[in-house]
């Protein structure tokens, strides 16, 4: 099976699904799921393959596809999340309108992401990149209303990014007269640092927008919360990681690790500047997330913050940091997709995702609670989940690299994460169950299944991190990083090793000991939620929420400092442009007379200038 065939299947299958939807919705659903599963199987079979092949001659340029371990890792993540979110869509989207269109766009976005990671030259990369951007726009604005505004914000920023990409691409073509990434990479080492820096900055704008790096993040909170939940999972899980892929490609494949290290030194280097942006991306969005009341908005801001960790690891550019960043990309894809799906399931059953009105759903949806818990623990980076290992790698890089302030931001961000992750858990599932949700049921099977798969990945990679780390190590070595001493249980090192099996067994044994003590004591009596202790006073039941405004004292302290200044600036800019355009539009009165007058005035000015000043 060749790469071209895979892309033909992916795109062709998407259109076939659309056409089949006109005949029978059931067959369409089946085909959509089958298609994503087939793609997943094919991508999985590509493991270990490397190679490049030209597939088309376009205006005299060879367009090519290539595969290596780096693109395989991204492709498998795309294919996995693609199939899981399609399965999740089955019941989530049931009964909604324009479903043929929804599945078409969903499959096309997945196919275009595969195209991006398998592109061997800058032109095909750009084409797939644009297909992805426009497909995403259509999906974000699927719900209309406020979603349309969110989509518009997204596509405007996306176009700015694409323009920057085109500039970078043509500047590279002007210097090397080829679009092939490998060809450019082999000849770029002689370029001047100033030129490399300008190309990198242009690409960083493109990929920074997709990756939602502060200060290019403002499209993300609206887009993530307005999109349909299964697509939010794809959006946050893998789509924004295409920016990460772009960063890796432009920094380590195109420019290369050696040339990159010559771009400035100390604090004034490309590495460090990117790392500082990443640190800001962790710090501020974490605390904005803390103050949100819409569960999906919390997760959206959290996505920005977690992307900060990924870029921080990659920007630092040591083998340990790179491994941490890449691993965190995989982990974020798993736990954030899981969380979006779980919130989607809650919304599907209760009709709301407002953290100030839900509560006590654990009694009705215990399974969804467990999934949310696992996702939240992964997000926090709790030991025995995959998030812990990747964050550990990033912290260690920063501490031993003598960057304790970046390490402080990363660790402090994690403690902010604990607060908002627990807020989601507590405000949705814990506390008193309101009367109106007494009849809520557990999520259906097609929602449970993808969540189970993701939670298994989270725990498996947390206890046996060696499985993905070995693949990541291969990528690192191929990009010129030092090889890491990766074992199945973690990483060996003389400056502090990590052993997840030890942590796991220590906690397991302590658990068993405590559980035995617990069992030996007299059994307890199960009571209802209203039967609780209030020091002699009456605890009101029913519509009385104790979880609303959960961290009020913190809000009061941080509110004056945590403002999205960037968004305010962009919106003011957009407003100014609109005013200017409105003002310009007044010129067009619609009367022929005024247009003739403009022409005459212009000619008069020209003649006056020619006669009076004699400038040309």
């Amino acid at each position: 099976m060749s790469l071209e065939m895979l892309l033909v299947i992916a795109f062709g299958g998407a259109f076939l699904t659309y056409l089949l939807g006109k005949l029978s919705p059931v067959l369409r659903d089946i085909l959509a799921v089958l298609l994503t599963l087939v793609i997943l199987a094919i991508v999985a079979l590509f493991y270990g393959r490397t190679g490049e092949s030209s597939f088309m001659n376009f205006l005299g340029f060879n367009l090519s596809l290539r595969i290596n371990t780096l693109s395989w890792l991204f492709a498998i993540a795309v294919a996995t999340l693609g199939s899981l979110s399609t399965i999740f869509s089955l019941s989530y989207m049931k009964g909604k309108e324009r479903l043929d269109f929804y599945y078409l766009m969903m499959l096309i976005v997945n196919a275009s992401m595969l195209g991006i990671v398998f592109s061997g030259d800058l032109i095909s990369f750009y084409v797939f990149w644009e297909i992805m951007s426009w497909g995403t726009f259509l999906l974000i604005s699927y719900n209309r209303g406020p979603a349309l505004a969110a989509g518009l914000k997204y596509i405007v920023m996306s176009i700015v990014g694409s323009t920057a990409y085109l500039l970078g691409m043509f500047s590279l073509y002007a210097s090397y007269s080829t679009f092939n990434i490998a060809d450019i990479a082999s000849r770029i080492s002689t370029a001047s640092p100033g030129y490399l820096l300008s190309v990198l900055v242009l690409f960083s704008i493109t990929f920074g927008i997709k990756n939602a790096l502060v200060p290019l993040h403002t499209w993300l909170p609206d887009a993530h919360s307005e999109a349909p939940s299964p697509f939010s999972a794809v959006l946050s899980g893998i789509l924004i990681k295409m920016g990460t892929y772009g960063f890796v490609i432009s920094m380590y494949v195109l420019v290369g690790i050696k040339a990159l290290s010559h771009l400035g030194h100390g604090i004034l280097s490309f590495h460090f500047m990117l790392a500082i942006l990443a640190a800001v991306t962790i710090l501020v969005p974490t605390f904005i997330a803390l103050m949100q009341d819409d569960a999906k908005r919390v997760l959206a801001w959290s996505s920005i913050a977690q992307v900060g960790y990924i870029i921080l690891g990659i920007a630092i550019g040591t083998s340990l940091g790179f491994a941490g960043g890449m691993f965190h990309f995989l982990n974020h894809a798993s736990f954030k997709a899981l969380l979006f799906m779980a919130i989607g399931a809650v919304e599907y059953r209760t009709g709301t995702r407002d953290l100030n009105s839900l509560g006590g759903i654990i009694k009705k949806m215990p399974f969804t609670f467990m999934m949310t818990l696992i996702g939240a623990l992964g997000l926090i980076g709790f030991p025995l989940t995959n998030g812990f290992v990747s964050k550990w790698l990033i912290y260690k890089t920063l501490i031993l690299g003598k960057d304790p302030f970046l390490a402080f931001v990363a660790l402090f961000g994690t403690w902010g994460t604990i607060l908002y992750a627990y807020k989601i858990l507590h405000n949705i599932f814990m506390g008193q169950l309101p009367e109106e949700y007494k009849g809520v049921e557990e999520a259906p099977f097609s929602m449970k299944f993808p969540m189970v798969i993701l939670s298994i990945i989270i725990i498996l990679f947390g206890i046996l991190p060696g499985i993905p780390l070995k693949v990541i190590n291969v990528i690192g070595v191929s990009l010129g990083f030092k090889s890491l001493a990766v074992n199945i249980w973690g990483i060996a090192s003389d400056t502090g090793a990590l052993n997840t099996i030890n942590i796991f067994s220590a906690i397991l044994v302590s658990w068993i000991v405590v559980w035995l003590i617990f069992k030996a004591a007299p059994t307890s009596l199960r009571v209802e939620q209203d039967n609780n202790y209030a020091a002699g006073s009456y605890v009101p039941t029913g519509r009385y929420l104790y979880t609303a405004n959960f961290y009020a004292p913190v809000y009061r302290i941080i509110k004056p400092y945590v403002i999205d200044v960037v968004d305010i600036f962009y919106m003011a800019l957009a407003g100014a442009v609109r005013t200017l355009c409105d003002w310009t539009r007044r010129m067009y009165t619609g009367e022929l007379g005024s247009y003739v007058m403009y022409i005459m005035l212009f000619l008069a000015v020209l003649i006056t200038m020619r006669l009076g000043f004699n400038i040309w």
Binding site: W392, L419, Y422, H426, M430, G496, N499, S524
Partner: protein, 294 residues
Amino acid sequence: MKLAEFIISPILAFIIGIFLMGLSRRIMARIHRRYGPPLMQPVIDLVKLFSQRTVSHGPIFDIGVILSLAGTIALILFIPFGGMCPLEASGGLLVILYIMLFAPLGLALSGGEGANPNISIGISRKFILSLGYEVPFILIVLAVMTYYHTISAVDVVKAQSSFHWALFSLPLFLPGLAYILIIPAMLGIRPFDLASAPQEISSGPMAEYGGKYLALAEIEHAFSIFITIALFVDMFLGGSGNVVYFFLKVLVVFIIGLLINAVFPRFRTEQAVKFLWKWPSVMALAGLVIVLAI
């Protein structure tokens, strides 16, 4: 030998923790000019609590409290203590930092299913307080790790052998003092007992606990007292290869902390956070800057 450490160190930690709990009540009582309960009172309480029947609010109510204690016991195995450190090569101080999460998170989950308004308030306060003390705490740990250029707790102890105690070295003096200031916040004792304020919110997250739940929570608290202070002894007082010396160091630090904090009234939540983000953080930050400058 190594295998024995896995059993001995938690048991010793438990005994020391329970002893310190009993002692603290005695010392507090003397400061208040009372006679105070016997030294064995915590043990008597535990026996009583374990024999009582109580109520449960659901599976997470049970699992949370077990998770909280299990995590704390596992944590002991990562801390160098009297020449023992059963799990030394398993991630070092960074893992310790994270396993310290098990206890509050477990109690919060457990309490959450209790559906008592006091619990929600208590949990919210507990997490806010932890956000408060984690700022100086992370800075302190980072200063130590950067100064000794390792993330392993055992290596930090080794570097301080033969009385090169970090507390009396120039760069780490301020972080050491900052740690002493945040110990009561980490333990949730006065003046930082806002999360479990018994008079205000009926012990907060523990409002629904009785019998074995309360007993497990008390044991967890005893362990936490030991761990918090043992970490200070390891990072700033050079640890010790000898269990008796180690215990004496822990005892001295504990009594100093107790004397300072026995006379303070309770902070409000915002006051606590503002205090923690001000003095201890500034001191720890200054230490970190000095470490980097050297």
